[in-house]
């Protein structure tokens, strides 16, 4: 087990990339701490799988180095890195029994048969497949096959990291929750570094201590879930995390106020002059509906169970607000923004504010 360092890493699937747009992964420097549970979150095609495959050694990066601890493993193959990876779609060895499937990585490493037997039983118990250990893997359901893949990923105790590439896509929702809990428990028990790729924020937020959000080949933010929620570093993080995502308004920033169409919004912090497209962002959770403040036009109200989502329009720009249970929607509704919860963005990146 070791800390994973990505140093000046970039990758392009094109042989001689010319512009930055040719890179599937833009240059990045990141350190993944030993024993951390990371969730790699982002929409399809943002480079999540590429990054994962570079870490596991399936893909050789165009530029930069990958370090495990202090060892440079950039040119080492997958076997030498001793890393486990579970793929999006189940990969089982059809002609082998479930038991042989689970023990395959251990047998390939020439482990002691007695140890293999005990370890396989332990993993089988974890994924609930003790009863069918001697069955052929062929003909099992997609769920069961994916559980075998997960089991094969976890069977080696000495791996440097376990990478999961959207492993629960094919699993039904009930089982998903159970397996995620088990992964989390496994993490607590053995302390492997785990990187879990997903495009489902619930999955990411429940699994990980640290969430890594990727957008367009770049890691835009790496931090604990609260940080991603409160201070998204990029408008994409604001939009992607949270349901519904952060409200973003084009605004003009002047010191500690933002001019939003015809109205002024106090920001709670002072900002220097900003360049490019400036926006302010506020979470729907921090939009307060009441009789006073900025007038909005309510378009519709959606009941999602725990609370209601108000879809409205503020100065011609769409706005979402959360109306908690039991609260009535005022007739001429106005909104105010909770102080200190507004983030300011220049060209999509967050600008830190200073004291007033």
């Amino acid at each position: 087990m070791s800390q994973i360092t990505l140093s000046k890493l970039a990758h392009s699937y094109i042989a001689s990339p010319k512009s930055e747009a040719d890179y599937a992964l833009k240059e990045m420097d990141h350190v993944w701490q030993d024993g951390g549970a990371y969730a790699l979150l982002g929409s399809s095609g943002c480079g999540k799988t590429t990054l994962l495959n570079i870490i596991s050694g399936l893909v050789l990066p165009s530029r930069g180095r990958v370090l495990f601890g202090d060892t440079d493993v950039t040119d080492a193959d997958t076997a030498a890195r001793n890393i486990a990876q579970v793929f999006q779609f189940p990969v089982v060895y059809d002609t082998m029994s479930v038991r042989d499937n689970l023990s395959f990585p251990l047998r390939n490493r020439g482990m002691d048969p007695a140890y293999i037997g005990a370890r396989v039983n332990q993993i089988a118990r974890m994924i609930g497949m003790e009863d069918i250990l001697n069955r052929k893997a062929q003909g099992l359901t997609a769920d069961a096959k994916q559980k075998i893949s997960l089991g094969r990923g976890m069977v080696r105790e000495d791996v440097n990291a376990i990478l999961f590439d959207e492993p629960l896509t094919v699993i039904d929702p009930h089982m998903k929750w159970e397996l995620r809990t088990q992964l989390k428990q496994l993490h607590r028990e053995f302390g492997h570094t785990m990187i879990y790729v997903t495009h489902d924020q619930t999955e990411a937020l429940t699994f990980a201590d640290k969430v890594v959000v990727m957008y367009d080949g770049r890691v835009v933010q790496m931090g604990p879930p609260e940080e991603l929620f409160e201070t998204p570093a990029h408008t994409f993080v604001g939009y992607f995390i949270g349901s519904p995502g952060m409200n973003l308004f084009d605004a003009e920033i002047k010191g500690s106020e933002a001019r939003l169409g015809g109205v002024l919004v106090p920001l709670g912090a002072a900002y220097g002059p900003t360049a490019g497209r400036t926006q302010i962002g506020i979470r729907p959770e921090y939009v307060l509906l009441g009789d006073e403040g900025l007038p909005v036009t309510v378009e519709r109200v959606e009941d999602v169970g725990r609370h209601r989502i108000v879809r409205a329009e503020l100065q011609g720009q769409p706005l979402n607000a959360i109306l908690s249970d039991g609260m009535a929607l005022p007739t001429d509704a106005c909104v105010s923004f909770a102080p200190g919860k507004i983030n300011v963005y220049a060209d999509d990146w967050r600008v830190a504010g200073g004291g007033i």
Partner: protein, 290 residues
């Protein structure tokens, strides 16, 4: 809702029935007719019952031809299937050379059978053939017209040259359909090359390989033109396979009765083996989709 019954619709099937009758059923009936009758010409037939069949089943000549046939099919399957797989594994997977290799591999398959025979007949000749002459020049005593072993080797190499491509192309198609994730998982699991072949490639190729084996078995079991052109069944009877023997009997000796009985049994044997293959394959499919 009741459907209108209109038996005149059967007339729509008539053209096909007539066509199949003339192209397949009636000629086959002629064979059946000859198999159960004896004739002294002038279109006069005498009922012979199962006599011809008895004669054929107990005939040494047929047993020997059948033995040679089975040996030939077994040898070419034992060479062509592993060799085809080996070639497929080593063919480039993409890029210019992938297309190049595919075309190269397909070439032997496009040559008419009798031309293949002629090519090898000349190629192997000791006086003017490149192969035969070269072998003679380096002191190897090779002559497919005199030596039964040499004749067998020539016929087998010819068949391997002609048909290994078919196995290779089918195996290649099977390999191409394996998702990349399997190879990646194998690398993650630290499997060696043999394990990748044994547990990923071979199981995934199983379907196409069975088809390849079936096709190669049927074709080799019926082989006629190529060995006939090269060796004419000789030296002696050493390369007289079933169909060559059959042709000799029917058109050479004009023993139409035994030849007809022989061809019916021949037909049934191939039908039976093909049926076994078909059953095995459909069972495998069912197992996979289970």
């Amino acid at each position: 809702m009741d459907k209108t019954l209109n038996n005149k619709a059967w007339f729509l099937v008539l053209p096909v029935l007539v066509l199949v009758a003339f192209s397949a059923v009636l000629p086959l009936m002629t064979v059946v007719n000859y198999a159960f009758n004896d004739t002294f010409g002038q279109n006069k037939f005498f009922w012979a019952g199962l006599d011809w069949f008895e004669e054929m089943v107990t005939s040494d000549r047929l047993h020997q031809a059948l033995g040679r046939q089975i040996l030939f099919s077994a040898i070419i399957l034992a060479i062509e299937v592993p060799l085809g797989i080996f070639i497929a594994l080593n063919m480039p997977k993409k890029g210019f050379f992938a297309s190049f290799c595919l075309i190269l591999m397909a070439l032997p398959l496009l040559i008419p059978f009798n031309v293949v025979g002629t090519i090898w007949q000349i190629f192997g000749r000791v006086d003017i053939g490149l192969l035969g002459h070269t072998l003679a020049a380096i002191g190897i005593d090779y002559n497919y017209t005199n030596d039964p072993i040499d004749a067998w080797i020539t016929v087998i190499i010819m068949d391997v040259w002609h048909w290994t491509s078919l196995v290779a192309l089918l195996a290649y198609a099977g390999l191409q359909s394996i998702p990349q994730a399997y190879y990646q998982a194998a690398r993650i699991d630290q499997a060696n090359r043999w394990s990748v072949f044994r547990y990923i490639e071979l199981p995934k190729m199983k379907g196409v390989l069975l088809i390849a084996i079936l096709l190669r078995f049927m074709d080799s079991f019926m082989i006629y033109t190529e060995p006939f052109v090269v060796t004419g069944g000789g030296p002696g009877n050493s390369t007289t396979f079933l169909s060559i023997d059959l042709a000799k009997m029917a058109t050479g000796q004009f023993d139409l009765g035994p030849a007809a009985a022989f061809s019916l049994m021949y037909f049934l044997v191939i039908l039976l083996i093909s049926w076994v293959f078909f059953t095995v394959m459909t069972n495998l499919d069912r197992e996979e989709n289970h």
